[in-house]
């Protein structure tokens, strides 16, 4: 065991402290088990078909789409931090850039993995590239997410090659250097791709004329949800990064970035959340008074099906929008760790709620006069498959944190925040 520990130590960055090999292995065990269970569940879906899920003809999208939309929005911190650092020159955020890339890569690769199980014929995925329907938001999403995942991979490789042992290989060092020169270009390309696919994910539902609860008018071919999704994703991305960094600090007991960096993330998130809440409020008013009635639907009728009452709309805009925006923008609350983290949690919770409303509530509501309000509960295979994505994320992040220089300020700061 001792020899393993010594070998393991050689892969860890000099000047940083990491937990023992045994403790790290023990930390990974439950996640590996969850991953194995999820892979088994996903295997059942691939082998026997989507009858392993609880989706049906009335609820053709379920837990997976809801969580895909959510984690892609939360992963927006990757492209947005790159945009802020390389395009807008927010140098201070370099402290969280590597961790943003890893989180983004995990979110996007996890989402693509789940999507491959979620389609009935995964082997036909290439058809979208061969017979693309340029009018479909899903085509745009497929193209942009695939391209952006490649961009994220190229952003992740330089981080990977900065590992203590890997950078001793001269060719790796040269490759890493070359890739590093490309990073600003990758950040710009990633920003462009991300703006489009985040928007198109909103457009997925916004264009559904047949689902007046989700349908929105907009500008040219883009419904308002296109712009709202971009805004909400770039508002939540920094908050999620703030939460992940704080969580890693808490779990490891080490200070990884200066508090001012977290405050800056909070302020950016707060400002964008405020803009998002204002836009969302205007959009909701336009939908209530114009869009929905013009399609023959009384909008308040949508809220007569419990538990999806108007409280949900108010919670989304006020509790998970306005409140965290104020908390993140007010100097007193924005400079206190507790308030900062609480507000970031609310922002991320708001994203989950928004995606839930759009994906689940939309399908549960009736359209025809004689339709029923339908319900859906995911099967264990659906939950376990998604659990595998979470486990995969924790494992990849844990390995990255242990062996890669994710937080450049860690060496400089290099002190514990707790007694562990």
């Amino acid at each position: 065991m001792a020899s393993y520990a010594v070998a393991d130590r050689r892969w860890i960055e000099r000047g940083v402290e990491r937990t023992s090999t045994l403790r790290f292995a023990l930390w990974l065990v439950p996640w590996a088990l969850l991953l194995a269970l999820g892979v088994y569940a996903a295997g059942l879906c691939l082998r026997f078909g989507l009858n392993q899920t609880n989706m049906d003809n009335r609820f053709p999208f379920g837990l997976w789409i809801f969580l895909d939309l959510s984690i892609i929005a939360l992963g927006a911190g990757a492209f947005f931090t790159g945009f802020l650092v390389y395009i807008l020159k927010f140098k201070e955020l370099k402290a969280v850039l590597n961790t943003a890339v890893v989180v983004g890569f995990i979110c996007y690769s996890g989402a693509v993995g789940i999507l491959m199980i979620d389609v009935g014929q995964p082997l036909r995925a290439w058809f979208t590239f061969w017979h693309p329907n340029t009018h479909s938001m899903l085509t745009e999403v497929t193209f942009c997410i695939t391209c952006y995942l490649v961009v994220l991979l190229f952003e992740y490789i330089p981080v990977l090659l900065r590992n203590r042992q890997l950078r001793r290989v001269p060719s790796f060092l040269i490759f890493e250097h070359r890739l590093h020169l490309l990073v600003p270009v990758l950040a710009a390309v990633g920003t462009l791709l991300s703006f489009f696919h985040q928007g198109s994910l909103g457009g997925l539902y916004g264009v559904l004329r047949g689902r007046p609860f989700a349908f929105r008018e907009g500008i040219a071919i883009w419904p308002s949800t296109f712009f709202l999704f971009i805004l909400s994703a770039i508002a939540a991305g920094p908050s999620f990064l703030l939460l992940i960094t704080s969580l890693v600090e808490k779990v490891t007991g080490r200070k990884l970035v200066e508090f001012s960096v977290l405050c800056r993330l909070g302020r950016i998130s707060g400002l964008l959340t405020a803009v998002y809440v204002a836009a969302k409020a205007v959009d909701t008013l336009a939908w209530l008074n114009r869009t929905s009635p013009s399609l023959g639907f009384a909008p308040w009728e949508f809220y007569s099906y419990k538990p999806f009452g108007t409280w949900l709309m108010l919670a989304e805009i006020v509790l998970f929008g306005l409140v965290p925006a104020v908390l993140l923008l007010h100097p007193k609350t924005a400079s206190r760790r507790g308030w900062l983290i609480s507000a970031a949690l609310l922002v991320c919770g708001g994203i989950l709620l928004n995606r839930f409303i759009l994906t689940v509530q939309t399908l549960a509501l009736p359209t025809l006069a004689f339709d029923e309000f339908v319900s859906y509960l995911p099967s264990w295979q659906e939950v376990a498959s998604f659990g595998a994505v979470v486990a995969y994320g924790v494992i990849v992040y844990s390995l990255s944190y242990r062996y890669l220089p994710l937080f450049p300020q860690e060496k400089r700061e290099g002190y514990r925040v707790s007694g562990r």
């Binding site: 693309p132 264009v207 559904l208 009384a298 939309t362 359209t367």
Partner: protein, 251 residues
């Protein structure tokens, strides 16, 4: 060849809810028997008959049976624009919304888009009990697990009618040669089928009648399936919730 707009008018006052249309549809289109674990919401019913009541009880209770299938939307066709790989299209010659299961990815976005819930996913492998495969219609391909399907107005019958017209050196299809299975099977003659673009056709005249209506017309999708009824409460079913929810109940 002139452009056609195939559609139908279903007389709800004549429909007895016998389900012959549904059975004929399944037999014509090689819909497999339901899988053992299939439910009302996971089965394949390209044409289903929906019983709806006026919500009253006792002598005041009234019922109507509504045959529901793809409404063959002509404008803003919800399922066509969303399909990422062009597996759905509106045939410009006939107005029929066609589905290509061979190209379908099984993403089910079209099902999400359809306000009429007229699209069905193959949740199971299609299986026929031994011997029953002999009943399969050789003119229609079976669909595999993991793809979406729907009513295509018995497209194979249209192809047969077009082949017959071509063999006879005629440019136009004889209306008598193209009749979908549900229309043929209806014992009360409740379903009128034909070319809506032909102003003189019986179906076009019936569609213009004041008792005719289409479901969710305000969505602007221009369905080519019309219904007709002399009963105002039935006609009110066209609009979402114009009749309060409590007063309309599924049968």
């Amino acid at each position: 060849m002139k452009k056609r707009r195939y559609g139908m008018v279903i007389d709800l006052d004549r429909c007895t809810g016998c389900g012959a249309c549904s059975v004929a549809c399944a037999a014509e289109n090689n819909v497999p028997p339901a899988a053992p674990r299939a439910t009302e919401r996971t089965g394949i019913t390209p044409l289903r008959v929906q019983p709806v009541s006026n919500g009253a009880s006792g002598p005041a209770r009234r019922e109507v049976f509504i045959p529901l299938m793809c409404m063959q939307c002509g404008e803003h066709t919800p399922c066509v624009s969303v399909c990422p790989q062009q597996a759905v299209e509106v045939d410009s010659a006939t107005g029929i919304v066609t589905q290509m299961p061979q190209r379908c990815l099984g993403c089910r976005y079209c099902m999400t888009a359809c306000p009429y819930h007229a699209r069905y996913f193959n949740w199971w492998d299609p299986e026929w009990p031994a011997g029953m495969e002999k009943t399969l219609n050789p003119g229609v391909a079976t669909r595999m697990r993991g793809v979406v399907e729907k009513c295509n107005l018995c497209h194979s019958r249209l192809h047969a009618a077009e082949d017959k017209a071509a063999a006879a050196n005629q440019r136009e299809v004889n209306p008598a040669d193209y009749v979908p299975a549900c229309v043929e099977a209806c014992p009360t003659g409740a379903i009128l089928f034909g070319d809506l673009a032909d102003e003189t056709s019986a179906v076009a005249r019936a569609a213009r009648a004041p008792q005719a209506f289409r479901l969710l017309e305000k969505l602007g999708t221009e369905p080519k399936v019309y219904y007709r009824s002399n009963r105002p409460w039935v006609r009110a079913l066209a609009e979402p919730r114009t009749v309060p929810a409590k007063e309309v109940q599924r049968g």
